[in-house]
Amino acid sequence: MNITFSGTRGLLLGGTCELALALAVSMIKSSLFPILTYRSNEGLHRIRHALPQYEKNYDVGYLNLGDRDSLQALFTHVGSDLDFLVDFAQGNYESLIAQADEAEVYRYCMENISFRAEILKTVGRTMLKKRKGRLVFVSSTAAQRPNPGQGLYAAGKLASEALYRTMGLEMGGRGITTVILRPGYVEAGRGRVYIEEQEGKVLQTVPIKRAVTQKEIAETILFLLSDSAASLNATVITMDGGLTHRK
């Protein structure tokens, strides 16, 4: 299969997470140019540490969810030459709904929903100038089946999915399309921590009896960015080994 891409420059929001770093490597190997966002010096160091041999093949930009000045500065830096967006950004706040701190709830929704709408507005208007763009939102199966304590996380993911889906409907005719990927248990980040906390028992509920790998996620997103996947628009793809489809 010959995978081709319409464009080269891709912005990776939440660029310091393991999945984003894995994707960045895959993109670079496919001659794409990732721009990874970070929100702390520690995150910036993580990027530098993960991609030492590729320092001329990627860029970085500061973005802090909820910080509108950082968004403006990021796009001043990125400019109008942007072909792809892959959105891994998501704050974490675990609490039972009836225990959640009110101020934290408002802050969480502002950072993870309202601010994302502003990001999409900025990205959409940037891509509209070229009438071309591809956006991938990395959601979670928690959007469909949250565990107790994941109410806000699930709400943030579902609301963000709605933003991406609708944008694909609105702008598909102008060459700007969206797709959402919902991974299940993943061998990375919070997923790995959770699996370890549960001593692997949770994987017994997955029909394939294992977690989704970072490599699988990175390669799937790369495919979703390719020309071959262009007709996958305004829709959700679940990648969970069958987890959410069993009784």
Binding site: R125, L128, K129, E170, M171, G173, R174
Partner: protein, 123 residues
Amino acid sequence: MDTLGEIKKIIMELLDLEDDPITPDTYLIKELGAESIDLLELAVAINSRFKIAVKDEDIFLTRFRLYLTEATQKGMDNAPYIAGKYPHLTNGRIAEIITHISEGPQLKVKDLVSYITNQSKGA
């Protein structure tokens, strides 16, 4: 700068118009059939061409009817209330829009020119 000429060029390109039917009094939505996605592209193009900040809801008079309702609810005169919301529109133009508002979307090409001129002054 010939703002009207530039606007006409942008509209003709975006709406794929071959002839030049556009005058300052042309209705964008009623006559040219511009849809919301066309207006979005137009806003982006105006921002890019004229280097001005464009607030879509203001340049396209999106909330005009809502502001009329607000004025009524607050017991205020319509025209001055609208003038406060859309400083780029003249009193005459506001009166004209209010008179014809029941006939459909009133946005005209000259309203875009007024907005750009007003924003350019503030730039």
